[in-house]
């Protein structure tokens, strides 16, 4: 049981590291921690 938990943590951490690294390096990566624009700076609805 302990071994399975340890292996699971390794796999989850490894996948997380791979995902974040690939996302940061990829030009089509998704931006995390993007703060929402204030209402006055939001694009008009028809332009979205």
């Amino acid at each position: 049981m302990k071994r399975i938990l340890r292996e699971a943590m390794v796999l989850i951490a490894l996948s997380l590291a791979m995902a974040l690294l690939f996302n940061a390096a990829s030009p089509t990566g998704i931006k995390l921690n993007r703060k929402p624009l204030p209402a006055s700076q939001e694009a008009p609805v028809e332009a979205r």
């Binding site: 399975i4 699971a8 490894l14 997380l16 791979m18 995902a19 996302n23 089509t28 998704i30 995390l32």
Partner: protein, 154 residues
């Protein structure tokens, strides 16, 4: 016989999750839209989930396929599939018609049905069964882990 079935299950589950992970990684924007359509997660964690989940599927699929930490990987995949199953059942109960997003852009390319319906529920139940079969099968036939354990003498 049991070992042969377990190897067969490993090949099927490993290949499916490897391909499904790759298909989602190649089009993260689409996966974000799918997650939003499910209306299950708070908006804050949707992009993070869309980035991480495909890589988790890819890594676990690869581990199951080559037979490295495959029992643990199969157990995590069973839990992951149980989560997918709960998500699909929730949209069915709420009457939301949504693309299940299980195979990303691959479903469009191959013309596969990819809706969150009862077929997807049955498919997930079968996947959970195969994952548990891999987890409870202690045989290490045709696995990298078994090869390493025997010191490469095979």
């Amino acid at each position: 016989m049991v070992s042969l079935i377990a190897v067969f299950a490993r090949i099927i589950i490993g290949a499916i999750f490897l391909i499904s992970g790759l298909a989602k990684i190649s089009d993260p924007g689409r996966f974000i839209l799918t997650l939003r359509e499910f209306r299950l997660f708070p908006e804050v964690i949707v992009p993070f989930t869309a980035i991480w989940l495909p890589w988790l599927e890819l890594l676990l699929g690869l581990c199951v396929l080559v037979g490295l930490l495959h029992r643990t990987s199969a157990l995590i995949l069973a839990c992951l599939n149980a989560g997918f199953l709960a998500a699909i059942l929730s949209v069915i109960v709420r009457g939301i018609e949504v693309d299940c997003g299980c195979f990303g852009m691959l479903a469009d390319m191959l013309g596969l049905p990819d809706m969150a319906d009862m077929k997807a529920v049955v498919r997930n139940v079968v996947f959970i069964g195969l994952c548990l079969l891999i987890f409870f099968s202690r045989k290490e036939a045709l696995s990298l882990e078994g090869y390493i354990r025997q010191g490469g003498k095979r």
